[in-house]
Amino acid sequence: MLGDKRREGVGWRNPAVWAAWLVLAFLSAPSLIVLPLSFSDDTVLRFPPHAWSSRWYVAFFASMEWREAATRSLLVATATTLVAMPVGVATALALRNRSGRWENVVRIAVLSPIFVPGVLFGVAVLFLYAQLRLNNTLLGLVLAHSAVALPFVTVLMEAGAAQLDRSLEVAAASLGASPLRVIATVTLPLLRPSILSAALFAFLASFDEIALAYFISSGEYATLPRRMFSALRDSIDPTIAVVSSLLIVITSALIMLTFVVGIGQRRTRQTGLER
């Protein structure tokens, strides 16, 4: 009966429900127009297209510049995930369930990449890398992107760890396992779903990153988003719709993967909330 009462407000007679679906249409419209746009036969971008073809896909795969940018982004995002995951997981486990003064200072420091304005972060990294000659290098990009991914990993892992049943770890410890052994053999295996979604977020955070990449990657060292930035500025041709569609498909595939692994629903909700 309680359930029925709660569902009362979901009906179509409620104007708030109509408003909600209109907003949902607004939210999904941009992602939805991109796919048909990429199969346009026009040379200018208009929606809906006048004729259909796959010529812009051919153009994309024939372009060395786009292919190199895509490869570079995949490489940087993979390396970033490999750096940010151990660093973030270690921090999350150290901070876990503690909110003393020092823990909070560490937390603020680790989360600061989210709160520092993107443009200032970008200029700061550009300045640092200009002194160290790290601009347009793989190492520079991976370090900067790891700092961007770190808050997501830490927050997700902390939230996951907070939900764990501590009694299993206490049991292991009381049977004589050292703290590190408990973490390796009990805590981390239990946290596998969180680890997977944190890794996905770290990967996407880097793969999609532009605020820093705008300053520290350019020319032949451009990442995919950086290349798209230039393409949008120079000439908007339908190739960019192809790149956009591929990005949407790849991202959706990655996210479906986490759904398929069976942790999707709960994790995604958590993920979203923590962001």
């Binding site: 429900v17 907003v23 999904s28 560490v106 709160f115 304005p117 990294v125 962001r275």
Partner: protein
């Protein structure tokens, strides 16, 4: 006796603390290296020139009225985007909090879709939709609502539309969480005591969701302040956000001090907003607790 038992225990505790410090060290080093140190260094450079201390970079902002208007535009855009995001997000959060099962998952996926779509893809899509002969203008023309195409892009309108699209999910999520945490019996109690739907909403549901609204508002406002990629496309040349000034200053001025000073101002504004919202949050929590009790 006590010392015999507590000494190994103490040693173990101390060892755990050492392990925990060691575990945080890589993260702190990374953030200190790429973010805290260079931002600190830039802040230092913003008050230095060849002859020592100077406030030249800051006084320049006061003398040149362009900076004042730019700061005003930035705050205006951030405020507009924040208000619109809350207005758009609230009904979605209400729906999401009440749905169950696959319907809830579908709505959640639609909310998260923009977050999973690259920022540049979204910028591009809005450029196409909003352009002079884009879908929105042609639809409005066909329907006879307007006689001539509206200027929807390369200005404030386009920037606000695009940024609202980016920010709305960040409000939906915390508000949904707050609504889900609410006891549905409270709403029914208000109704059974004679409040109509409208009054029950404003008297019970909305106040109890305020903590979520404040989280969303803070996040959106702060993120909007530092946004530069989307405004530089959807705002065209006509909209000068503070962040776009920083972006161009880097290219125009030979020294780092000028751009750094702008960055320091942006950072200070952000810090003030975060601090204020921390206070607001505490107030809201106290109020919420008081209301629930009395």
């Amino acid at each position: 006796m006590t010392s015999l038992t507590s000494s190994p225990h103490l040693r173990a505790t101390r060892r755990m603390i050492q392990i925990r410090i060691l575990a945080c060290a890589p993260a702190l080093t990374l953030v200190a290296f790429v973010l805290i140190a260079p931002v600190g260094w830039l802040s230092w450079l913003s008050v230095r020139d060849s002859s020592g201390f100077t406030f030249r970079n800051y006084s320049r902002m006061l003398v040149n009225s362009g900076y004042a208007s730019s700061l005003e535009t930035t705050l205006e855009v951030a405020a507009l985007v924040t208000v619109l995001s809350v207005v758009l997000a609230y009904p979605v959060a209400l729906l999401l909090a009440r749905l169950r099962g696959w319907q809830a998952r579908l709505v959640l996926a639609i909310v998260l879709l923009p977050l999973w779509t690259s920022l540049l893809v979204r910028t591009f899509a809005w450029l196409v939709l909003l352009q002079r002969h884009g879908l929105i203008n042609s639809t409005l023309l066909t329907l006879g609502i307007i006689d001539a195409p509206l200027a929807l892009v390369n200005n404030l309108t386009g920037t606000v539309i695009g940024m609202t699209h980016v920010m709305t999910p960040f409000v939906v999520l915390p508000v949904t969480a707050a609504l889900q945490a609410m006891d549905p019996l409270l709403y029914q109690a208000a109704q059974s005591l004679g409040a109509n739907r409208w009054r029950a909403f404003w008297g019970v549901v909305f106040p109890l969701s305020l903590s979520g609204v404040v989280s969303g508002v803070t996040l959106v406002f702060v993120m909007s302040l530092g946004f530069y990629v989307m405004p530089s496309f959807l705002g065209g040349g006509s909209l000068r956000m503070w962040s776009n000034r920083i972006q161009t200053n880097i290219e125009v001025y030979p020294d780092w001090g000028a751009a750094s000073a702008l960055g320091v101002v942006l950072l200070l504004v952000t810090a003030v907003v975060l601090t204020l919202s921390g206070r607001v949050m505490a107030l809201v929590l106290v109020r919420g607790a008081a209301d629930a009790r009395g």
